[in-house]
């Protein structure tokens, strides 16, 4: 059974079609990179996978559970980190994690064991009693990532998770994703940093204007774009038709 299947998903906001007939699957031993320019529909698609947004048509199943008919069941097994997550700033870091852990059904013992462990790993130990309002963007991002992983999810959906993270924490997240993948927990991962996608992801889906432009391993995509031996950035720019940036740079520096 696939960990995740996305079948012909369509989602519109008024006249804007954010996601337009996207389909793909994710295996248990994979990290799937979702790439695309700003406004290509990645974040909307990721929210439909968690059941936060209901698609207009199409089907999404997570571990065999239909997201539309069983959103609560899906949310129990998914770990989600949205892009620029907004947290409850009137709570302290530990109060926030305690809240998230409780609504995910973690008991006192599990919370006592897991929360300090994550706080230590992400170097938030000693700051956990401070209100989130005073945290830096990076600290808030770390907290959101911890919140997404606390309940031992069976699949991770991470929208730009490395935003604002320091190199050490970014490394921890990447290593965690790899370790979880090896343990059978797959990840859907969106990023604008193509070097990271190249290094982290087993498969890539490139989205453009709400549609799937290309799908495959990095090597398959290079072959498809006719750019073997070049970087993922060149493949991406060629496939999305935005490779010729010289004129723009010239105009901006004139």
């Amino acid at each position: 059974m696939d960990a995740l299947t996305v079948e012909n998903v369509v989602k519109s906001f008024g006249a804007i079609v954010a996601v337009n007939g996207v389909s793909f699957t994710l295996q248990n031993n994979q990290i799937l990179g979702l790439l695309g320019p700003n406004g290509s529909g990645k974040s909307t698609l990721m929210k439909t996978m968690v059941g936060v947004i209901t698609p207009d048509s199409g089907t999404i199943t997570v571990e065999g559970l239909n997201v539309a008919s069983n959103p609560i069941g899906v949310k129990r097994i998914v770990g989600f980190v949205p892009e620029s997550p907004r947290l409850y700033e009137f709570l302290s870091g530990s109060e926030y994690l305690d809240f998230v852990a409780t609504v995910h059904g973690l008991g006192v013992e599990a919370k006592r064991e897991r929360i300090p462990e994550f706080l230590k790993a992400f170097e938030l130990e000693g700051r956990e009693n401070e209100l989130i309002h005073g945290y830096s963007q990076g600290m808030k991002q770390k907290l959101a990532i911890i919140a997404g992983m606390l309940h031992k999810p069976r699949i991770l959906i991470l929208d730009e998770p490395l935003n604002a993270l320091d190199p050490r924490s970014a490394r921890i997240v990447k290593d965690l994703i790899h370790k979880l993948r090896d343990d059978g927990v797959p990840t859907v991962f969106s990023t604008h940093v193509l070097e990271i996608a190249d290094a982290v992801c087993d498969r890539i889906v490139i989205m453009y204007n709400g549609k799937t432009l290309a799908e495959g391993t990095v090597e398959e995509l290079k072959a498809k774009a006719g750019t073997e031996g070049s970087s993922l950035e060149e493949v991406f720019l060629k496939l999305t038709g935005t490779s010729d940036t010289r004129e723009i740079v010239e105009a901006l520096t004139r």
């Binding site: 959103p71 530990s94 409780t102 609504v103 059904g105 956990e128 401070e130």
Partner: protein, 540 residues
Amino acid sequence: MNVRAVYSLAVVLTRSQIRGTRRSKLLARILSEPRIILPVDAGLLLGIGALGYVTVSRMGNDLQSILMPILPKALAGIPSAIMFIAILFGVLYEISQPTQSMNTDLVNWLPLTPMEYVAGSTISESYIYSFVLCLFLGVVLGPALAFGMFRSWLAAAALAVLALFVGAFVVEILDATTNRISSSFYKKSGRSGIIFRLVATVILLIFIQLLFSGYIIDYLLQSIIQAAVFVWFLPIVWPTLAVLSVSQGNFLAFLLFSGASVVFAGTLFAAAAQFRARFWVPVPVSIRLSSGAYRPTKFQLPFLGAAEGALIQKDLRSLTRRREMARFLAIPFVLAISMGISISPLGGGPTSGIYEFFSLELLYAIPVFIFVGAFAMTSIGQEGYAIWNIYAAPIKPSQILRAKTVFAAALGLAFGIALLTIFALMLNPIAANYGILLLIGILIVFESSTIGVWYAARFPDFREMIRSRYVGVWGSLAGMGTAFGAALLTIAPSFTSAYIYGTIRPEFTVATVAIGLLVSLVAAKLALREIAYLFRNIRV
């Protein structure tokens, strides 16, 4: 000073304020540019002025002879009133800013000097509140023209403009100093600092609400005008003394006091710039609530699961830690004081009379439904953009309904019992009547909390802005209307019984309970449906 930079900053800050409140699309389009304030000001000044002139000109001599001696005092009071209102509005604006948008980062990285910032900010604030100035000046313009006191009016107008700026400078100084004081205070005091802030904000809001009762404003202004001559050495009365001097034909005194007022305003401006230079803009401070390692919490309430407990605990922290939520805590105090004043004429005798009981029942039901309804209706929207935390969590709509309703109802019950205690202390109690009132209070609390959550889920407003309402305008009106209707329906049987039989018979009490429970049940069903729909369609 870069005048163009000051102008641009003033325009941006004005736009930010006038666009930062939720309104209909049409109004949002009309009120999107600062220039709209000018015709509004002109309309208020000239329209009310013309109306006043026509009215006063057509008055009989007897009425004119009453009005004429009051006018110089009214003109003299305007600068003080404007200064007072500018400070009040400025402070209210600061209180109502959402915690998330307190940092005016812009001025940190733009090449602006503190003096330019203070100039831009005070011009913006003065321009926004200029409608109040025009309203006041418009009211006295007509009589001033009719009685030949236009010269005094001109002096009052000029000094009122100056007073508006003085008020804005004071707000700047208060803002800069409190930022600094509160930053150091919170760093040192942690949790107790938050409690202190909450209590101080609630007291301030209660004070402001009570000040807005016309009687107190009138009393204050009369006192200032009467005392101004004796406290001539205080700068805040100089504009008032300058206007009084014109009315008395003492131009030397006018020049002296108005000149001193200008110097005072200039000094405040310089002081505000100095304070800004020293303390600059607010920066988020790290507030440590406790020390020591993390300890898991278990907030378990009877008949509720762990998720509901976690939601209630979070909402309680939201209510007591967010500055913009303090107004909800101020509501019961303001209502209790107002009701206390309202019932005082009923005191002295037993409350067994039918009409006294009717009055008491209404005076009890109205504040209870207002507080619980208003609080419950904001329970979903107050989550703000952080609502995704609930959208993404495995929480069922029924759990959200239970958590939100129980929290609003618990606060409402506490308020209802406190209000009843005030009634019992102020009036001659008859136990049976208070028993009925308590029962009605409990039923209204349940009705209003379920109705409130129903409308909260139907019309949520998640936007985080100044004076956020957390619920759409039409939603809040319809919700309050529904809650009011339900409250009336609930007290109807006891009314009827008291009217027909002179007492409340048991069968009518049963009818009251049945109505209360039925309304609560229906509202809960509707609320559940709305929550389920809302959580399938994220709106932020």
